[in-house]
């Protein structure tokens, strides 16, 4: 709109010009109240993107919610949620668009509050440049360091530090230099490709659009001038070709198109390609589009490829340049940002989504957490909300990837909680662990089937779960006796017994409980391999761990048996006097009292112990085994 007069002259030329403008995605970040939203509001206002009706609304809002008396509060242009306006803070990212005569911008205004770090990371993940604000009065704060670290971790290579509220320090050059020095002192370690430091007043508009006469000592570019001209990074189109297959298009028998977005490189008909996981090689025959076949597609394009040969490809496969393939691995090291109120424990399974692939993943080892203030490495057993750690992950099946450093799209992933479906973590992959490829599983000649055949039974895990005192051990014991009497080969793993030996080193914290179950799951797996009907009697209060144990064996080898007893009944029985101790506070983290029990949602069997004899319930288990072919009648 600032080019109003030129527009009418020739609208077609004008539009062509619009189309050919450069493009930049950036974020604003930094500590609470440093003026991020005000700065964005100011940019929108100064680039004339605010309509009259919006301005009228802003004036009204400023009177009602503003922090500036009757003056316009630019932050209210951006803080669009009711709760944000009431509290005067930003809670979630706002995506706003503006343009200058040189570039189009998508800017994500992120929250400064530590509590909302995950929303800051959301904004940062797609940005190429970060404007980090610092309040001139306060200088570099912990949050300045945290955001700088996340910005660097997520691969943003260009940073502008805007030292804001210069109006409140009398536009003092001395103060600015102090902060500039303090930032450079630690900012250097991140090795950003460009790092500019600009003194501004978002409120007054100084050094935003153009250089302000109130700070004649500053000789650098204005903020917008820098955003207009900064040269951003390398050319994705020059990198090796990668296209994760998103959708297979089969309108009829003669057409099989592979749809996806090119995440790096360039592709042309005739190019030789390889399917990352299977290693199958073929050639591109056509690039189909509604506007006719294409000669070429580059990074960022969403396309449909036809291949020369009939190869087995489905969603989750990655089509790669044949002379430069993606890596394939099921174990790797990564940085992880944790985004859930519930802590992460090594060993607990989550869903991992990267590109178009989704697999089950567990953190096998937390190498260290990172202190966001000192950047020191700290030992860690678990991860809490907003923490960053370096860790090893192990997957249920291999994925195709590239290190994040070389390919942002191929090296990033999110973790999803399998029960709440929340996005609980985000990670960037560094490298595959060679361990996976070097320790090949030893193929054994006497295998599971051989073991089981000799015993004339179908091995399985009978997993008894329930509250302490529910009757798990009693029933499991009876079941084992009945099986033994029939000449079946069994073994019973009991919680208390295992804790005296194998798991002697574990306590009752959530992390230790996870590890407790992981080990028992692994032992049960070995016993199943040996052909045994393995009975496991463990409280195992968390769904996630029972799922983890289930995942270790084949689908039909895991029978979850919920020994269902109301807490009040179990507490009354109290065979070991533990409930009384827990109530007295002598026993911490006791399931049902001060630690939760998550009831199974899809147990194969539910045994209701109230009003039912243990022997009858044991028979119910035997009948299940007969009916489902685990043992003969």
């Amino acid at each position: 709109m600032n080019e109003l007069t030129e527009i009418s002259a020739n609208i077609t030329d004008y539009l062509a010009e619009q189309e050919n403008k450069g493009f930049l995605r950036f974020i604003t970040c930094g500590s609470v109240d440093d003026g991020k939203s005000t700065l964005i509001g100011r940019l929108l206002f100064d680039t004339k993107l605010i309509f009259e009706d919006q301005l009228a609304a802003l004036e009204r809002d400023s009177k009602k919610h503003g922090t500036l008396g009757d003056d316009i509060d630019f932050a209210l242009l951006v803080d669009g949620l009711e709760a944000e306006r009431e509290q005067g803070i930003t809670i979630d990212v706002a995506y706003r668009f503006f343009a200058t005569d040189k570039r189009k911008f998508i800017v994500a205004d992120t929250p400064g509050h530590e509590q909302y770090t995950r929303n800051m990371a959301t904004g940062a993940s797609t940005a190429d440049l970060a404007v980090i604000l610092i309040d001139a009065r306060k200088g570099v704060l912990t949050q300045t360091r945290r955001h700088s670290f996340i910005v660097s971790l997520l691969g943003i290579r260009h940073v502008v530090v805007a030292v804001n509220k210069m109006d409140l320090v009398d536009y003092s050059e001395e103060r600015f230099r102090e902060i500039e020095q303090a930032y450079r002192a630690f900012g250097e370690t991140f090795d950003f490709e460009t790092l500019e430091i600009v003194p501004v007043s978002a409120l007054k508009g100084d050094n935003i659009m153009e250089r302000s006469p109130v700070m004649p000592w500053y000789q650098g570019k204005s903020l917008l001038d820098h955003l207009n001209t900064v040269e951003i990074g390398s050319d994705e189109a020059e990198r090796p070709f990668r296209m994760p297959v998103q959708w297979v298009n089969r309108p009829n028998l003669d057409f099989r198109g592979y749809c996806g977005t090119v995440v790096s490189g360039t592709v042309r008909p005739g190019d030789k390609v390889v399917i990352a996981k299977s290693g199958r090689a073929t050639e591109i025959s056509r690039i189909v589009s509604m506007d006719g076949d294409l000669d070429e597609a580059v990074s960022g394009d969403s396309i449909t490829l036809l291949l020369k040969d009939e190869v087995d490809i489905s969603r989750g496969d990655v089509i790669c340049a044949s002379d430069s393939r993606a890596e394939v691995a099921d174990q790797f090291s990564a940085h992880l940002i944790w985004m859930s109120d519930e802590a992460l424990y090594p060993g607990r399974p989550y869903l991992l989504k990267t590109g178009t692939q989704t697999v089950t993943a567990t953190v096998t080892e937390l190498k260290h957490k990172i202190d966001v203030n000192s950047f020191e490495h700290l030992a860690a057993k678990e991860m809490h909300l907003n923490e960053v750690a370096f860790c090893n992950l192990s997957l249920s099946s291999p994925i195709a990837f590239d290190p994040y450093e070389t390919n942002r799209e191929m090296g990033s992933f999110i973790l999803i909680d399998r029960f709440t479906n929340q996005t609980v973590g985000a990670g960037v992959i560094w490298y595959a662990l060679r361990r996976a490829s070097n320790i090949h599983l030893q193929a054994l000649d006497v295998d599971k089937t051989a073991h089981a055949d000799l015993k004339g039974q179908k091995p399985a895990v009978l997993w008894f779960t329930g509250l302490s005192g529910a009757g798990k051990s009693t029933i499991a014991n009876l079941v084992e006796k009945k099986l033994h009497a029939r000449g079946r080969h069994t073994y019973l793993l009991d919680g208390d017994n295992v804790r005296h030996g194998l798991n002697r080193d574990l306590g009752f914290t959530e992390a230790d409980r996870v590890e407790n179950i992981r080990r028992v799951g692994e032992v049960a797996k070995l016993f199943v391999d040996a052909g045994l009907i393995t009975l496991v009697s463990f409280i195992s209060p968390f769904r996630a761990e029972r799922q983890m144990a289930r995942n270790l064996v084949a689908d039909d080898e895991f029978i979850e048996i919920y020994v269902s007893t109301p807490l009040s009944v179990a507490e009354e029985r109290d065979p070991k006097g533990l409930y009384r101790k827990a109530r007295d506070g002598q026993l911490k983290n006791f399931t049902g009292i001060d630690s939760p029990y998550e009831e199974p949602e899809n147990a194969q069997l539910v045994l209701d112990t109230v009003g039912n004899d243990a022997d009858v319930l044991a028979d119910q288990v035997i009948r299940y085994l007969e009916d489902n072919g685990y043992i003969g009648r």
């Binding site: 609208i11 009204r60 979630d92 050319d235 309108p251 509604m290 969403s302 989504k353 996005t423 985000a426």
Partner: protein, 301 residues
């Protein structure tokens, strides 16, 4: 860095990627089709995403019974051309009770005939994902919304507790009854939409172009008298004026602008000079600045 693709090409590729992800991961998606310019662009993108197959989901229009007649004709024609099933849903109870914008006020009418109707339709068909053509530049609470925006089993949006959405990796997981609203045009601006319509030659409802139409003026808003159901006030009689619409909805709630723009180029030109936002023509958005967020929390698109 050489930027090899224009802004529109980038936007198009991003939207197609989003649309395909929904088709690949959701059990039963539907595309909400409101017949306006944004819906026209969204439908066009869906066709491109799956070409040569038709898009693998139906279109759905929530018909309040107060749409412009020209919109309904256009809707049926476009669905047929795309080879897609068209589901039309009306809140029958609301219709039986004759809920209308004149007697019941715009806000109650919108609640019953749009929001409730939409929820009914989504529940009835058990859709677990619904595409909408909303853009972040339309309104400041929209600017805060994710591209994949989770809804509870009662269709509620919790703006303070949105799922983090990093890179282009979308969490599409829902439990039974829950759903996701998906906005493939999140990053488009009004100018982008018009430029794309121009570049791709996308058909739009003729009401966007200036013509002589019968209108009355109420409190400064120009309302088209589209059919005889519109009650005229004493001394009010429709005048023929050269007008067009920047946005389309229910005719009694959609203000026209005086304009002679009869080609796409002229529309774009007019838009560039405009000093008010397109929403200023929508009567339901005037209420107050928090009204859109409130409606969205309750399930409005």
């Amino acid at each position: 860095m050489p930027q090899r693709r224009s802004h529109l090409e980038r936007l198009e590729a991003e939207s197609i990627r989003i649309i395909r992800e929904v088709a690949a991961e959701m059990k039963k998606p539907v595309m909400l089709y409101s017949i306006g310019k944004d819906s026209s662009v969204m439908l066009h993108l869906a066709r491109k995403a799956f070409y040569p197959a038709p898009p693998p989901f139906p279109l759905m229009h929530v018909d309040t019974t107060w749409k412009f007649r020209e919109m309904i004709e256009f809707r049926d024609r476009m669905a047929a051309e795309a080879g897609m099933e068209l589901i039309v849903h009306t809140n029958l109870q609301g219709k039986a009770d004759n809920i209308n914008p004149f007697d019941h006020g715009s806000s109650y009418y919108t609640q019953v005939m749009k929001t409730d109707a939409l929820k009914q339709a989504l529940d009835m068909h058990k859709f677990d994902a619904a595409f909408g053509g909303a853009r972040r530049d339309e309104e400041k609470s929209r600017a805060k919304e994710r591209i994949f925006s989770f809804r509870t089993a009662t269709h509620a949006w919790d703006p303070k507790n949105q799922r983090p959405e990093l890179w282009s990796i979308y969490n599409t997981r829902v439990k039974a009854g829950e759903s996701i609203r998906v906005f493939p045009l999140s990053n488009w601006t009004e100018l982008d939409i018009w430029q794309y319509i121009l570049a791709e030659n996308i058909p739009i409802v003729p009401l966007y172009f200036a013509d002589h139409r019968p209108v009355v003026e109420r409190d400064g808003t120009i309302i088209m008298v589209d059919d005889e159901r519109m009650p005229l006030k004493d001394g009010e009689s429709p005048q023929m004026r050269l007008v067009r619409f920047r946005t389309l909805g229910c005719y009694p709630l959609t203000g026209a602008v005086e304009s002679g723009a009869s080609t796409l180029e002229e529309i774009v030109e007019e838009m560039l000079i405009a000093r008010t936002s397109e929403r200023s023509g929508r009567m339901i958005d005037h209420d107050d600045s928090a009204s859109m967020e409130k409606k969205k929390r309750e399930g409005y698109f």
